[in-house]
Each structure stands twice: as structure tokens, then as C-alpha cells.
Amino acid sequence: MSFTKNLIHGTNFDHTSLNALQKVALRGVVMSFLFFGLLAIEGMIMRLVKLGPTNPLPDMFSHASHFFAIMTAHPIVGIFGSTYQLVFSAFIFLVPFLAKKPLYSVKLANATWLLITIGTALAWTAAFAWHYAPLYTLYWPLPADTKQFYAIGGIVFIVGAALIMVGTLCFIYNIYATIFARVGVHKNKTTKELLISGFGIDGMLNLWHKLTGKPPYSKEPALSLPVVAIFRGTVDTFLDALVILSAGVLVLVYLIFTAAGHQLDVTTIDALLYKNYFWWGLDLVADGLVLIYVAGSWYLLATIITGQKLFMENVARAALMLELLVSWMVWSHHLLADQPQPEMMKLISGEMVTAFELLTQGLALFITLVTLWKARPLKMTMELKYLLGGLVGFGLAVPAAIIQADMGMNRILHNTTWISFAHFHMALIVGLYMTLYSAVYVLWPLVTNNTEMYSKKLSNAHFWLYFIGGVGMGAFVGMAGLQGALRRHLYVHGEFHTLFTLGAIFGSMIVIAWAIFLYNIVMSVGIKGLIGIFLPAQNKSASFGIEEEPAAA
């Protein structure tokens, strides 16, 4: 097939053959990868600025207001515009597929990707047009500081963030309404049975019955393990959305009053109390839903890749419950450098409970590896390669965080590039995204009706460039943190030059990898197919792989 033909028509992709569920899932995926491109370019701009006088960019990027506006937009685009969309789209497809029943509402799923896309675009616009730059942490009272920022920029940013959270709530409602719908295989299940399974209590009871020599509490749990992980992770997604929304409302009230000429007193809000509240919610993303969703994804991928049952499934179910409880109690590790924070909270929440994440994530790693090992020999498919890459990412990133979640280490690592690169860029770029790429390769034939990928060579090139780029950038910029480089600081005079240069070189590999991936996808589905994904589906079915029951008369 010629280049032009591929570019327009793809390989064998036929968007008219897709049903409503497949299309709505793909819409979020397309938006997610477009936002990923923006994210990668923003990241590269920041990496280049830090090269100092040798950087090839126009001067405006090195100005503090511009630089920190990019730094503010970057995580919004990355976490919500890209990651949330990709994860939500995958789950919108997976929950009905795994639970063998239709999605509660395709309309609500459309609202989800649209609201998150518009919200992300608004937040980005606030940073781009008005240089609104309080960073994603929104430390009080900076987001309401109208001496440094235009109130209108703040209002647009907060409205954008609020739309993202409303989109998130639409997703949550849709997921729970689907899980609790008493149709199909769950026709005869009670809400209590579904709740017990969703929280993993059946797994715990099975373990207890085994220890006491009784027959299993439940031989066939009501919900499959990946659905349990989605159920559990979504609890944190909900709590996090409430916290971010309420913090947004607070900032909005202050900004609107200022815009109306009535300045409110920012000292009414205790900055430390606000920081605790905000980090409790924000940490539910980092240490809650991400880790739980990831563990669930590993289990799903391992079982699909091997075609076998998960090793130690009951332990995995119970561990997901533990992870949920742990995720509610670890936020204080973000406040180890805050001296007025009570020492007991630092010690118990910041250090001890946080250390449990090593246990829960280590357990997920172990279960996944053993499940794969027991099924060998396996073919080294793209999905397996990416899954192993994801395991490496978290294998590197989680201990890096545990090391810093310590009163001794935090004193010299807090707010350095160690935490932003050796930990969370490593966790997100390598750990989370490689897991998600694995899921993309697993789900690809299902959501596209067996569309052939344009080039395996390009898939491999993407994998290696992305993996080496992600690990290399995380490692070298992380090492700069050990030499005193601060993560939220403007360096334009060539400080930490060698390590920042290496970081930029490896960072550029991620941008190239993204371009290769996008090219491969566009050549597989074609521009016509890409547009077709956004056209209404002829087949209105909201399920996949099952015969839908006729509607009740």
C-alpha cells in the first residue's frame, strides 16, 4: 500500500464497524495522545531552558513568568488531559467488557472526555495567555495572589480545573452505575454482594476461611480482579475530585471578589491546614488511584498475556483493600519539611504508613512476575515488553520515594529534582505510561476490530526510545537533585550543566518516541478513520463481546 493510501485509509481500519462503546473509548485515547504530545513538547522546552545560555530557544521562554506558566500547565496537561483520559477511556471499555454487561451511559462517557478536554484546554489557556502560574500544588495564598497574577487568568484556570473534575465525576458515576447494574451475569446478585466483592472483602474472607480450614467464602467472586481494582481506585478518584473541586471553589471566591474590587483577607485561611487538606486529596492521585489502577492493570495484563489465572488472587484482592486504606493516610510525607507540622503526623503518616507502599506495590510486582513466570515460555510481544518496562519504572520510582519519605533524607532532598525526576517522572513516564502502552496493545484488536498495526519496527523503535529516554532523563535530572538542583527553580545560567544536558538529550528521545508512535497509529487507522472515530456510531451498542438483552417491555 502506498504512503498516501495508508495515510488516508490506514491499514484495514473501518470506523463504521465500531459500536458506540468502542468509539467513545477511542475518542478519549486520541485526545490523550494529542495531549501527551503537548506535554512532551512543554517538558522539552523546560529542559532546554535549563541548559542556560546555550539553549536554542527564544529568550521569552527563559523569563520567569513564561517558564513557570509552562510548569503550571505541564502537570495539568499530563495528569488530567493525557493520563486521566487514557485511563478513563480504557476503563470505560474494560468494565463493561470484563463485567459482561453494557456501559451505563455512552452519553456520560462522551461528556467525560469532552469535559476533561475542554477543562484542560482552559487551564492551559490561562497559563498561556495570562501566565497564571501558581503551579499544580496551589500553595495558599499563591493562587489568590493578584499582585503577581491577573485575576482573570486564575478564574479561567480554576474553571478549567473544575470542568476536569466534573468530567471525572461523570466517569465515576458511569463506572459505579455499570458495576452495580443488576443485569447480565449480575442479574441475581445483590448490591451487598457486589459491594463486598468491590472492596475485596471476599478475598479477605477466603484467606481467613483457608487459614481456619473452612470451605471458601466465595468460589466465584462477583467481580473480576481488574474490576475490583478499578472499583477501589475510583474511590480515591472520587475523594480527590471533591478535594480539588472544593479548593478550586475557595480560590475562585477570592479571585472573583478581587476582580469585583473587594479584596478578601488571605490570612483567614491557615496555609498549613490548607496544605494538609490539599495534599490529602492530591496525594490520592499519586499514592492512591495510580498505584491501585496500576496494580489492577498489571493483574489484567498478566492474565491476558498468559491466558492463565492470576497467582495468589485472594492475596491480590486483599492487598488492594490495604492499598486503599494506606492511600488515605500517607499525605504527610509531603510535609516532612514543614516544621509546624506535628512530629507525630510526620512519623506515623509521613514515614511509617508511607513505607507500606513498598509492601503493597512490591506485592503487586511479585504477583505479576510469578503469574508470567508460571506461564513461560511466552512470546515477547509488544504488550509483554511494555508491561516489563512498566514494572521496571515502578521498581525504580517507588523506592526512590520511600527513601525521600524519611525525616533525615527529606531535609536535603525535599523540593529537589530527585523527587520530581527519580521519583514521579520515572513513575509516570516509565512506570505508568509503559503499563498503559501495554494495555493499548492488548486492547487495540478489541477496540479497533482487529486493525493491523502499520509497522512493528516502528512499535519497537517507540518502545526502546521511550524506555531509554524515560529512564535516562529520570536518572540524570534526578542526580542533579542530589547536587542541590531545586525542582521549582529557574536556572538560566548553566547551573548543573552536564546533568541537565544529559536530561535534555534523553528527554528528546521521549519526544521522538511520541512522534513515531503517533505516526504508526495514524498510518494504521488513517486520517479518514481518525475523523470517523468522532462521528456518531451506527451501531449504538454499549457493550462488547456479549449479546445485549432486549429492553424490558
Binding site: H63, D145, A271, L272, W373, I402, G408, L482, H489, L490
Partner: protein, 198 residues
């Protein structure tokens, strides 16, 4: 084993984490290679499940026990209210400007020193850095609170000060100069010459 300053600690940390990073990448690479082989792989080491769990628990908790016993500023920080400092420095910050003590901040070696920093508007950071840019110590400066940092310097040196927390673009001039950077803000004197410089 005791780490006298952040340089010693970070050197140790750098080596230990680099070894760990190579180890985890190698293990997964070995694992991936053997997943595809038809011949049964020889186990290098057999780790029982409960042994692995114990290793994770010991690793997570033991790390804190290790640092508590080897990093002197952990105990000092936890006991700061019961320690009488040799010197106390009161510092305030507002509108992206430090108000430092009128006399230079000269600190006696191996004596606990307390820095009390208060912010009149935003959240800042208080960080001391060596001349080569490496960090000595830091804390967050929460507005509306007295932020107290107790610190004992074990080596002589002159340290620079800047904010370790982002407080908006007003921290920088048009050409990217850090306006909160104070050269030679703290000087440590009275150390045994054998100890060398920071």
C-alpha cells in the same frame, strides 16, 4: 556509622541507589529473557514468598531506623523543643525580600543553632547551600507560623541562602536572577581544622 553532613549522606545514597537501579533493571531483563526460553531457567536464588514480604517490611521500616541512628539531624529535629540552642536567628520574609538579622549570621561549629523564619505573605523555603551549589539543609516557610529549624554544623564554611519553595515569578529578575539569593548568608567558625571544609 554517622553521617556528619549532607555531602557524606548523599554520596552514600548515590552509590546505594545506583547499585539498586542497575540490579532491578538487570533482574527484569534477565526475567524477560528467560520468559521466552523453552529451557527451564536455573534460579539464581530462591526467595520464599514470606521471605520476600519480610524483606519489604524490613526494608521499609528498617530504612527509617537506619537514618534515625546515622543521621544526626533527625534526632535533633524531633527533640528541637528540648534543646537549648547556642544561637538563635530571627528572619522574616515578605514581598520576596528577606529581613535578615542586622549582624552577620556567624555560627559556632558543633553547637546547635536555631533559625526561626516567618513569612508575612506567601509560602517560601529557607535553604542553605554550599558554594558549589549542594544543599546543606532546608525547611518550608509556612505563612502565619513560626518555622523553626534546629541545626548543628560540623564543618567550617560559608553558606548561601535562597528560597527552596516556589513563591511566584516575582522571585526572579527579567534576566532570570534569583532575587532571594543571599551570598555568604551564614558563616560557621570554630571547627577543628582537621575536619576540613564543608
Amino acid at each position: 556509622m554517622t553521617f556528619q553532613n549532607s555531602v557524606e549522606l548523599l554520596k552514600f545514597h548515590n552509590v546505594a541507589y545506583t547499585i539498586y537501579a542497575f540490579m532491578i533493571v538487570s533482574i527484569i531483563a534477565w526475567f524477560g529473557y528467560n520468559l521466552t526460553r523453552k529451557e527451564k531457567a536455573k534460579s539464581i536464588i530462591r526467595i520464599p514468598f514470606y521471605g520476600y514480604i519480610a524483606f519489604l517490611v524490613v526494608g521499609g521500616v528498617g530504612h527509617h531506623i537506619f537514618t534515625y541512628n546515622t543521621i544526626p539531624w533527625v534526632q535533633e529535629d524531633m527533640m528541637k523543643d528540648e534543646i537549648t540552642p547556642d544561637k538563635v536567628f530571627h528572619i522574616t520574609i515578605a514581598n520576596h525580600k528577606w529581613q535578615l538579622p542586622k549582624t552577620p549570621m556567624v555560627v559556632n561549629c558543633k553547637k546547635p543553632t536555631e533559625f526561626i523564619v516567618e513569612s508575612g505573605d506567601l509560602m517560601y523555603g529557607f535553604g542553605l547551600f554550599r558554594q558549589n551549589g549542594t544543599m546543606v539543609t532546608q525547611m518550608q516557610v509556612d505563612p502565619g507560623h513560626k518555622n523553626k529549624l534546629m541545626w548543628t554544623f560540623n564543618f567550617p564554611g560559608t553558606f548561601n541562602l535562597t528560597s527552596t519553595e516556589y513563591s511566584g515569578p516575582a522571585q526572579y529578575s527579567e534576566d532570570g536572577k534569583d532575587l532571594l539569593f543571599v551570598k555568604n548568608a551564614v558563616k560557621v567558625v570554630g571547627c577543628d581544622k582537621k575536619g576540613g571544609n564543608e
